[in-house]
Structures are given as structure tokens and as C-alpha cells.
């Protein structure tokens, strides 16, 4: 029964600095996105496709979501799939630097309407994602075959590569270059949100929900059917949109949405059957993520079937998906993975040989549960306010501020854990 979870090879884990730099930087870029929404106020909602709002969205999706996911994948591919990411230290250094800088340059270009900065930011982001996709897919090819999680990671990386290509075409079209006419921006959003974010969270959940939340494993059908349906839906939607067949495109997008809904419901059902009844910030974060995913799909449905209902529904769907679903799942994982990586690193440094007696702090000492819960409550409030700003755009300003505080607090808590680990190592030296 547990064979699917037994294949972890944590001794293959990369050096601590490879994933950690991504995980510690990302929350502060998300905080920047919150501040950008606060600065924009109601215009973030009512003009969400204008330059400044697109800038805020990229600060969050590139600087936070993609930043964390890249760091996590550099850890997961060797540990879960037994694969080898080529030149992982160099890839980590280059991709991290580019992902930290590019959303700021791109954002400045989009917000201020400066084509040169927009082009430079897009080029830097494209370089980061191209390097990461190439290294990640090379790593996937070295993984043991047949693992559902590795399959989902592979699909997510292909989706990221496609989203990047569509994003570049959208940027060129925006800069009035002569590119073939097509809804490139829509394709970019679809493959980025549903493909890259959706497939990756799914594949990671199959591993981490049973392991960390003490639930039964996902049944094989609950893994494979949603993943296949998500892929089929995205491909069908893209082809139908390109061919101009709106009803087929809508139906295909519905299939992809149903795949994500099935994943959310399966996860909630497993969480209800968990073996240990202790409260845990990660468990609550993942519950919030799944509920937000279902709410996002509901709002997306309203926005799709009632185009006259106004931009608020699309805004609510987007914020519930990005901040509520992706943001909460990432937050929950960060609360587990950062202290664990630090603890493991300390153990290896302090107990390298028989007889070593230096004390390694417990995980809860590195990042106390009460502090995680405090941040999570603030995060949940931010998600609710952001979604409600769809109906009442005046809420965008307080929502952005609360989100900025919540993400800053997340970054501070993770940094405090890293500093506590450093102090423990220094004290033992």
C-alpha cells in the first residue's frame, strides 16, 4: 500500500543552499506584489489587464510562485524521482538571480510604460525560465520511470516552457511587433496557471499530503485521471481557441477545471481521513488551498458564462487561484520544508561521526507552530479581502496591505528559522 511513498532518496538531496535561497527570497517578492496592489487600489481590479496590474501579477507569479516552485523542484527531482539536475549549483545561482531581478525590471517597465525596461525584464525572465526548463526536463529524463509525481513534474515543465513562449509572443504583440494574431496572452495565462501551477501542485500533493498530513495515499485513479484530463483539456482548449471554435474551447477548459476540482475534492476527502488529529499549520494551509481552488473555479465559471457580469469575477477567480490556492499550498509546504532542510543540514554538520554529542534543535524550536498559525491567519484574511475586492474594488487597497504584511511575516519567520539554525551551528563549532 505504501510502496508509492517509500521511494524517497533523501541522501541524494542537493546542498542546502540550492533550494534554500529560492525559498527564503520568494515571500519578500510576494510582499512587493501586495504593496503594488495596495498602491494601485481599485484600478488593480477594474483595469487588471493594464500595465501596472500586469506588473503586480508578474511580481507575484514569477517572484514568488515560480521562485518557490523552482527551488522545490531542485530538491524534489533528486529526492522523489532519483534524478540528477545537471550543474545544479550553477543552475540554482543563475535562475535564482534572474528570477529575483526580472520581475522587478519587467514590473517597472510595465507599470511605467517603458518599453525598453519591459523588454529587458521579459528577456531576463525568459532566460531564467529557459535555463530552468532545460535543466528540469534533463533532470526528469534521468528519473526512474513510471512515477506519477515525476510525470506531473514533466508536464508542469512543458507547460512552463509553452507559457514562456506564449508570454514572449504576447509581449512582442504588446510592443507592436509583427507577430501572427492570436490570443497569446490568454494562452500564456492558461498554460501558466492551469499547467505549470496546477500540475505541479497536484504532483507534489500526491507525495506530501500522505507523508506530512498522515492521510491514506491518493488512489492511482485519483492521480492519473485528473492529470490526463488537465492535459487533454489544456491542449483541446488551445487548439479550439486557435481554430476559433468558442464552444469547443469552453468545453475543453471545463474539462481542465473539472480535473482540478476533482483533485481538490480528493485532497479534502483524504485530509478528513487523516490518522493523526493534531492541529497543524501545514494541514490548515492545504485545506485553505483546496477550498480556495474550488472557489476560484466557481468564480471562473461565472466569469466565463456571464461575460457581462463585470471584471470582478475574473479578478476573484485569479486571486483565489494565485493567492488562495497556490499561495496557501506553497505557504504550507514552506512551513514543513524549510525547517526540515535546516534540521537535516544541522544533523549532518553536527553529527558527522560516531560519538558526536552536539544538540540539534527540534523542528518546532526552529519555527514554532504558534508563529506559523499567526501568519496563516493573516494570510487567510488577505485571501478573503483580495477575493472580495472583486465585488468591492475599494477593498483592493487594504487587501494589498494585509497581503504585504502576511508575506513579509512569512519571509521573516523563515529567515528567523534559518538564523536559529546558523546560531546553533556556530554555538557547536
Amino acid at each position: 500500500m505504501l510502496a508509492g511513498m517509500a521511494g524517497l532518496a533523501l541522501d541524494r538531496a542537493p546542498p542546502l543552499g540550492v533550494p534554500l535561497r529560492f525559498l527564503l527570497t520568494a515571500p519578500f517578492l510576494a510582499a512587493g506584489a501586495g504593496l503594488a496592489v495596495a498602491a494601485l487600489g481599485p484600478a488593480a481590479v477594474t483595469a487588471r489587464l493594464a500595465g501596472p496590474a500586469v506588473a503586480a501579477a508578474h511580481l507575484y507569479t514569477l517572484g514568488f510562485v515560480t521562485m518557490v516552485m523552482c527551488g522545490a523542484l531542485l530538491q524534489l527531482l533528486p529526492v522523489v524521482g532519483g534524478g540528477t539536475v545537471p550543474a545544479q549549483r550553477t543552475v540554482a545561482a543563475v535562475v535564482h538571480a534572474l528570477l529575483a531581478v526580472s520581475p522587478l525590471v519587467l514590473g517597472a517597465g510595465l507599470a511605467l510604460g517603458t518599453p525598453a525596461a519591459t523588454a529587458a525584464g521579459a528577456a531576463l525572465a525568459a532566460a531564467a525560465l529557459a535555463v530552468f526548463c532545460a535543466a528540469g526536463l534533463a533532470g526528469v529524463r534521468t528519473c526512474a520511470r513510471g512515477q506519477d509525481t515525476v510525470r506531473a513534474i514533466g508536464l508542469a515543465l512543458v507547460a512552463l516552457a509553452l507559457a514562456l513562449a506564449f508570454g514572449l509572443l504576447a509581449a512582442l504583440a504588446r510592443a507592436r511587433w509583427a507577430v501572427p494574431a492570436a490570443p497569446w496572452g490568454t494562452f500564456h495565462q492558461g498554460w501558466m496557471l492551469l499547467g505549470w501551477v496546477g500540475a505541479l501542485v497536484m504532483g507534489v500533493a500526491w507525495q506530501v499530503v500522505p507523508m506530512f498530513q498522515m492521510t491514506p495515499p491518493y488512489p492511482p485513479a485519483a492521480r492519473r485521471v485528473p492529470l490526463a484530463a488537465l492535459l487533454a483539456g489544456l491542449v483541446g482548449w488551445s487548439v479550439a481557441r486557435a481554430a476559433g471554435s468558442a464552444p469547443v474551447a469552453a468545453a475543453a477548459l471545463g474539462v481542465a477545471a473539472l480535473a482540478l476540482a476533482a483533485f481538490a475534492l480528493a485532497t479534502l476527502a483524504l485530509q478528513a481521513r487523516r490518522r493523526r488529529r493534531l492541529r497543524d499549520a501545514t494541514l490548515d494551509a492545504w485545506r485553505l488551498a483546496m477550498l480556495a481552488l474550488l472557489a476560484a473555479l466557481g468564480c471562473g465559471l461565472v466569469a466565463a458564462v456571464r461575460p457581462g457580469a463585470g471584471p470582478g469575477w475574473a479578478w476573484a477567480a485569479g486571486t483565489l487561484y494565485l493567492a488562495g490556492f497556490a499561495g496557501s499550498a506553497i505557504t504550507g509546504m514552506l512551513y514543513k520544508i524549510v525547517p526540515f532542510l535546516l534540521w537535516l543540514h544541522m544533523h549532518r554538520r553536527l553529527h558527522p561521526r560516531p560519538g558526536a554529542t552536539a544538540r540539534v534543535p527540534h523542528l518546532r524550536e526552529l519555527l514554532p507552530e504558534a508563529r506559523a498559525r499567526r501568519q496563516l491567519r493573516l494570510h487567510a484574511l488577505a485571501v478573503a479581502l483580495l477575493a472580495l475586492a472583486g465585488a468591492w474594488p475599494a477593498l483592493a487597497r487594504p487587501a494589498g496591505l494585509v497581503a504585504a504584511v502576511a508575506w513579509t511575516l512569512l519571509g521573516v519567520e523563515l529567515a528567523r528559522a534559518a538564523l536559529a539554525a546558523r546560531r546553533a551551528l556556530a554555538a557547536a563549532a
Binding site: L8, M214, H351, P354, G355, T357, L363
Partner: protein, 97 residues
């Protein structure tokens, strides 16, 4: 006795971590090992194979034998390197039980 607390039984010390979430099983095992007396081995009951623990055991001078079931999805028998009595008892339990 709460789950995860070692209890002494002849030459065997049992540690049931089936209900604990990672990495508590690892923490409990590493905390229990220094207390092993001569001739004693640790019998861990786990719901998954603790591959990471093996890596850390080697570094700290312990050896192990693991099997699937029958008492738990995974059972791991751990003894101090050089303790022949513990090794013989642990391996007999691992291969025989």
C-alpha cells in the same frame, strides 16, 4: 504509554512511530539510540521505509536490518556497530520473526 516512547523488553527496545509525522520518527530514533546498552537493539515500527534514517545511522556508528511487516508496514532493527550480541539478536529477529 504514548506512541513513540521506547519501552524495554529483554534485549529489544521497541519504538513505535507509526502515528508520528515526519521527521518526528527520525528525531525519536536518533534520540533513543545513544541510550542503547550493551546487547540491546532498537526495534522500530514504521509506516514507511525511513531511507533518510539509514544515511544518518551509518554516520553515527549504527547498523540496521529492515523488513516489510508483519507487525508494521516497515520494521527496522538497529544496533551499535561492534556490539556482536546486539547484532546477532537483531539479525535473528529481523530474518526470523
Amino acid at each position: 504509554m504514548s506512541p513513540g516512547e521506547p519501552e524495554v523488553a529483554a534485549r529489544e527496545r521497541r519504538l513505535d512511530v507509526r502515528e508520528l509525522e515526519p521527521p518526528e520518527p527520525l528525531e525519536r530514533a536518533l534520540a533513543a539510540l545513544p541510550g542503547l546498552g550493551p546487547g540491546e537493539y532498537l526495534h522500530m515500527l514504521h509506516r514507511r521505509e525511513p531511507l533518510l534514517l539509514y544515511d544518518l545511522l551509518e554516520a553515527q556508528g549504527f547498523r540496521h536490518c529492515a523488513r516489510e511487516g508483519p507487525e508494521a508496514p516497515w520494521e527496522i532493527f538497529i544496533w551499535r556497530e561492534g556490539d556482536e550480541a546486539a547484532r546477532a539478536a537483531a539479525e535473528a529477529a529481523c530474518h526470523g520473526g
